[in-house]
Subunit: 901 residues, 2 copies
């Protein structure tokens, strides 16, 4: 049997199904599924992603078998639709659309109305009884074909030869709207377009529908590797070898007249998650018109209508709406997930064009998951798996303080929630450029388009004048978790002047504004923020997650304030408390500098004595905030020169303060200079050179712990030695800590449960973890440094070349964000294996930033760590990720983050 390349659908059945996404793409698989479910789907066929792969392998050539199967596909459509491809009387028109396994909205190309030529148009005119519609369809087809297949698509609309010609005709006739063009105008345009095409390409515009079809299929396959698609895949981590499928489908028209419409809808509110059917539509329009934002769409139903002047689909086409209602309910029940659907109504008849899992805000995702579980549509475990942990980040950041004075200058649609403050820019490129120099920006556009993706990704927030809740800006912003206010009608944007005007007030590029994406508010200037609260659905979901996860989740916190924030987020202890952060505050830095400048141990001890009460107080506060939970305190880590000023003027100030000469300060600074401080005199190496520092810190920790114990507070200090590379280093520092700890307990006449362990952040420590574990009572992976040393990258310097590495595909993920499981992960595994060989019960955690990255949390679970530790705001993300990994391991449940890639 020959390999199957083409899968047909239509008339209540299909060769494919929803499970075949990798082969048929998301669109193709779901159309097949809808067809199987007996829903009204225009007949068609899907050319599989295998053909895409072979297309690139064979440099644009197709196997004969592919050709045969496509020809049969067209026959299949002809039969069902009762029309014939290229037939002058009753011609079949088709659309050719891309459809990859992962949604890549607007990134690849589409050709509509294919099959039209000077002959078949007559059949369409006759059949539709609408000459203008027919010529407009032909005009659109030629234009689209020229853009997509013949590669005439320009960078900007202003340079589009077709748009220029349309504008010229409109000018000539003194009209402003496309709809005012007459059939003759459109006919003239078709002729002009064809002439221009001949001029530019040297060939006649193809009249043979088959030539049109093959050209379009190849163009859509080719668009898999266009620059926009490449960028999108990189941003969304979609493997380049997946390829796209191509869907060839009979055309249905929402623009044949006022008994036609087209729309998109969500089975639940994608912004809030509320269980109500939520959609927008336009009468007498094609799908592109709804999402482009050129006309403001209307709400589909009464429930979601906000403006009394709006006309709902429910009102004007009640039958079609009723059918749609039946379908959306069935789809949600069938897919057991909120769906994003597209439909067209042609002369009163409803056609389903697409269904897919709907993109949603984090808040919506949580609400939908929890409510679906309560409705019994899914179970708790599926609810947990349905949330992308990374997306929760949206819910875990500060929102605008409701008490703050806000000058709301206008409101738009609350398209993507969140609170953003930044400086106005008007072009995506500018947003990228400003972001590179560290500026927060708000990207203000009339409407956005797929070309703007880069700038939208770096902006703090997006504001558009046109477009609805399902506009490009809204959909993309929600996907990115970026705050967005869309369709803000009062906004006048001038790209030329780089200004936006609201109620006659002009705002220039660079001015500060704030956006409240949850309310749709545009606010002048900056607005103070407050911390999020975790309750309701979110809190419930977290309880469900905690019931199944096996990893503990701790936090990295250096202050009682952070400790409290993290505790509220569910942190089960502190995995990393960096003592050096405490060295900078107030008077302390003076004592620190005295210590560094001291000529001998006696001098250092004198200065350390001044630091001791401060450190003790710090630990007292943190231990108290974290009562009943363990707190891992790391001894001094950074090189000493970080505590000295490097500018001459500051050195002079410091000298004056300490009563010495600036020259003395400079000599010390110079003597501490290192070529590679990352690999220099820091971490345990400091404590080995100056045991009195470790002594002071151990004393401060233990005095605080003993005091609290006396007060009846339960404390579990875990003293952690950084930058261990050999067992002997740990032996040396542990001796100091234990000696002081025992002494303090004796002095204060009380016992405290304390441990001494080590960071594993030097490759050698991982490789010799069996030896290190002889001394260590716990391990904590410092994967930031471990990544730096395993890759030989300095995080401070690598920015310069890592950007190129992503562009050239040498790295696909930032190893400082997601743990490199292939390389660094091997060291982690080796260390765990060897460490537990020595001490089977060794407590092992991670305190690098990877502890808050969901993929890395999954890895930590799989390699058998006891806990992850992350920044306070990422604690819930880690809790959810840990739960998902546990479920995945136990029940092989799929993770949404895998499915929705």
């Amino acid at each position: 049997m020959s390999k199957k390349y083409v899968y047909t659908f239509g008339a209540g059945k299909a060769e494919g199904s929803a499970t075949m996404k990798l082969l048929l793409g998301g669109k193709g698989a779901n159309i097949a599924e809808m067809s199987n479910l007996g829903m009204p789907v225009p007949a068609g066929f899907t050319i599989s992603t295998d053909v895409c792969t072979e297309f690139f392998e064979n440099k644009g050539q197709y196997h004969d078998e592919v050709k045969i199967q496509i020809e049969n596909g067209i026959k299949h459509v002809e039969e069902i639709m009762g029309a014939k491809f290229g037939d002058p009387e009753n011609p079949l028109l088709v659309s050719v659309r891309s459809g990859a396994a992962a949604s890549m909205p607007g990134m690849m190309d589409t050709v509509l109305n294919l099959g039209l030529n000077e002959t078949t148009i007559k059949g369409i005119i006759k059949e539709s009884g609408n000459e203008r519609f027919a010529w407009d369809s032909y005009r659109r087809f030629v234009q689209m074909y020229g853009d997509v297949v013949l590669d005439m698509k320009p960078e900007s609309k202003e340079e589009d030869p077709f748009e220029v010609m349309i504008d010229q005709i409109k000018e000539k006739k003194g009209i402003t709207l496309d709809t005012e063009l007459t059939p003759d105008d459109l006919k003239e345009l078709v002729a002009l377009f064809k002439t221009e095409i001949k001029k530019r390409t040297g060939s006649e515009f193809p009249t043979d529908p088959w030539e049109q079809l093959w050209g379009s299929i190849s163009a859509v396959f080719g668009s898999w590797n266009n620059p926009r698609a490449l960028t999108y895949r990189k941003l969304n981590k979609i493997p380049p070898d997946w390829g796209t499928a191509v869907n060839v489908q009979a055309m249905v028209f929402g623009n044949m007249g006022d008994d036609c419409a087209t729309g998109v809808a969500f089975t639940r509110d994608p912004a809030t998650g509320e269980n109500k059917f939520y959609g927008e539509y336009l009468v007498n329009a094609q799908g592109e018109d709804v999402v482009s934002g050129a006309r403001t769409p209307q709400p589909v139903n009464e429930t979601t209508k906000s403006d009394p002047s709006h006309k709902t689909l429910e009102e004007i086409m009640p039958e079609a709406y009723k059918e749609l209602e039946g379908i959306y309910k069935k789809l949600e029940e069938h897919y057991r997930d909120m769906q994003d659907i597209e439909f067209t109504i042609q002369k009163g008849r409803l056609w389903m064009l697409q269904t897919r899992s709907g993109k949603r805000t984090a808040a919506a995702a949580v609400r939908i998951a929890v409510e679906m579980a309560k409705e019994g549509l899914i179970n708790k475990e599926e609810a947990i798996m349905s949330i992308d942990p990374e997306q929760l980040d949206q819910l875990l950041h500060p929102t605008f303080d409701p008490e703050a004075d806000k000058n709301v200058i206008t409101t738009g649609l609350p398209a993507s929630p969140g609170a953003a403050t930044g400086r106005i820019v008007f072009h995506a490129d500018d947003a990228e450029e400003w972001a590179e120099r560290g500026e927060n920006t708000i990207l203000v556009r009339i409407e956005t388009s797929p070309e703007d993706i880069g700038g939208m990704n770096v902006a703090e927030g997006i504001l558009t004048a046109l477009g609805g809740m399902t506009s490009h800006a809204a959909v993309v912003a929600r996907g990115m978790g970026t705050c967005c206010v869309a369709g803000c009608g009062e906004l006048q944007v001038s790209y030329k002047d780089k200004t936006m005007t609201v109620n006659r007030k002009v705002y220039k590029e660079g001015d500060w504004i704030s956006l409240d994406g949850s309310k749709g508010e545009v606010i002048e200037g900056k607005v103070p923020t407050i911390d999020p609260e975790l309750s309701g659905d979110f809190g419930e979901l977290m309880i469900w997650a905690d019931e199944v996860r096996k990893l503990n989740v701790r936090t990295n916190a250096d202050t009682p304030y952070d400790s409290n924030v993290a505790r509220n987020f569910g942190a089960e202890g502190i995995g990393l408390c960096r003592t050096e952060h405490m060295f900078f505050e107030g008077d302390r830095i003076k004592a620190v500098r005295e210590m560094i400048l001291a000529d001998d141990e006696a001098g250092r001890r004198k200065a350390l004595d001044k630091l001791l009460p401060y450190q003790r107080e710090d630990f007292y506060g943190i231990f108290k905030a974290m009562h009943d939970l363990p707190v891992t305190v790391r001894t001094l880590d950074p090189p000493l020169h970080e505590f000295l000023p490097h500018e001459e003027q500051n050195q002079e100030e410091m000298a004056k303060e300490l009563g010495i000469t600036a020259a003395e300060v400079k000599v010390k600074v110079d003597s501490l200079h290192e070529f590679n401080p990352m690999l220099g005199h820091r971490g345990c190496r400091l404590g080995i050179s100056y045991p009195e520092i470790t002594e002071m810190q151990a004393r401060a920790i233990m005095e605080a712990a003993c005091q609290l114990t006396k007060e009846g507070v339960k404390v579990y200090p875990e003293i952690m030695i950084p930058l261990i590379g050999t067992k002997a280093e740990l032996t040396n520092q542990k001796e100091v800590v234990v000696r002081v700890a025992e002494q303090v307990q004796q002095e204060m006449n009380i016992k405290v449960n304390y441990m001494v362990g080590t960071m594993i952040e030097i490759p050698r420590a991982a490789l010799t973890a069996d030896e290190v574990a002889e001394e260590a009572e716990f391990f904590s992976f410092g994967t930031n440094d471990l990544t730096q040393m395993t890759f030989g990258f300095s995080r401070d310097d690598a920015g310069k070349f890592l950007k190129e590495y992503y562009e050239k595909g040498i790295l696909t993920e930032d190893p400082f964000q997601t743990l490199d499981q292939t390389g660094v992960g091997q060291l982690v595994k080796i260390a765990i294996e060897k460490g537990r060989k020595t001490k089977p019960d060794l407590k092992i955690g991670i305190c690098g930033e990877h502890g808050g990255d969901p993929k890395s949390v999954g890895f930590c679970h799989r390699v058998g760590m006891n806990y992850v530790s992350c920044s306070p705001y990422r604690v819930p993300i880690a809790r959810l990720a840990a739960a998902q990994e546990a479920l995945y391991e136990e029940k092989q449940l799929s993770k949404t983050s895998d499915l929705r890639v």
Copy 2:
């Protein structure tokens, strides 16, 4: 049965043997062996090193069993010697000496004449018939006991309370020599000594011989951990847990009169290796007198006599000499190695006190090994194993140019060969201090003592006014491979003025002198040097080594000159040719800077075009010098800022030269600044950012290779990409290299055998070597960087704390000198295993500096590398080390470097 702690010897038999060095120490094991061989050894017993270990474990206490066995040991000696410990009539006197498994000359303590007190001295007077001898022995015993057991040994002789008293008596009596002291003077001194001891220690000097014995044994054990011994062990990498044995032996006296003598001898010349019995002795003296250099010793025989006024032992004690001759031959035959022996003649009777493998110069080691093999005493393989490869370094360095003008100001004994130039210092401390700031020094001393060990180790050469070929200075210098001229009689040294005077000319501290240790010449100022020649015995030994070794040995060379030097030393190719070294010469640096300053690719290419002919010429020369052998060329490695000036003045000069402003230069320098350049934009990361650099280098390599191939020269370029951490990096750079290489071959219409491989120097590359090997045609371990990243040490910065690490025992070896097999070595093994899993025949070598370190070479052999690559001067060392490892593996032969530790 109880554990055996004490091993007796004497009267032609012994409980121990030479194989029991770890238990009995070198001295004890060899005395036992001599006793078993029927040689005249004063009876005695050895207390094993186990007792030393237990002594430290039990804080200075002994098991009862030890006490019993020692008491029995004394009985054994009493029986054989026919004398009784503490007996007033016929008292037994004993010596108590240390003796560790490894020779540690002069590092630990000794007590002689033990058993003397106011009663037993009468027996000695009666028995010896020499009252002066008896009181002198008593005086020495009390002094030694005070120094060693009662811890009264001062830092310098001038502060020694006993020496002060001796000087006072001499002054009072107007005499200058110790020998002029009368029995009454000595008796008075003994009394004065005892009073001083009482005063300082609060206790009477012990009169009970058993108390004396236990005190001495404990003191000798205790001396295992004195600071000198600790330093020596660290320098010589002797494990601290070995411990020392203690030898208690009946005293024999070389100082009882003119029919007595004492001497030390080597069975072959320790400086040249010549097969002649070579020794020195003194009539009427104790052993210390010979080695201390206080009296100039006489040659033992006519063959080695150089001064007609000298009296040889052969002349004055022909019978004893003849017996000694028989013994030395028997010992060399028995041990199959050159021996260093000590003997004493008491009233005409020869006693053997010690035999051990003799320390020798590298030249002597080679000659002895080759000659012994030819004599049939050992076989070729044993000859190979008998040389410490590290020691060959002495033979591989330049010697003074014989054509050079030399102002020889005086000559002394050629105590340790080599050529040294440096600035005069007079104290060991100064030598250390000067060395730290990078000064080359010559340490000039009247005589040296064990306290000077640190300074001797860092000085370029050692010059002494007193002492013979077996003096402390000579023995230690030879062991260290440091050039030494000893016993330079014309030299007057004033420590006070810090001057040395030769023939009335005064040389001050800091003046430059040169020493020719092979000729004994002291030369004014600096002398030019020439390269060594490798022929004769050395060449023969190398041929033998090459017959057995399996590892290839290549060299690291960047110029045709270095290539030739290495080729003469037997290099079988270049393992690392660093192209960047070529970037600095002449006009090139200008083009390099132009390239760096260029704003775009076009500008860079223009500058690179200027560099191309230079690089091609360089490679042409190197490939030609290395014809028929492979040459590994590494593409550009260092960060670009290394090629720009950092001082303002130099930036201005550069700006002028390039016709731009200094500000532009500064901007570029600043933009290239990195926080951790070691982990920054360097290695393949440069080639990925600027493929045109890799292109230029690949072109230069291939054009040179093609040209030479056309000329009939066989070339094997191996192009090596540095700093690979991921396979994708190598894929990227290999594509560039291969593309250019194919292009050049086509242009020049000739084929060249070339390979593209990679350095393994980033931990991640080692961990993912299976993937990297998919692209790499060879691996070369860059263990310098691999060590830096695995330890997290920057070599440039680690100096500050590594010193402390050695002092605190956290590291015992410099990981940049000897490969850290425990940590870094694991990555090497992982990489080899994984690399060969992908490509079973993968060629693998090492090009870090470890490639010339014998221990590391052994490791490279064991893990299955194909070659090591090292600096030209270390090629023969690597060849020998590789041969030894092969023999060790094949035949389990012991390496001298293990035995002689």
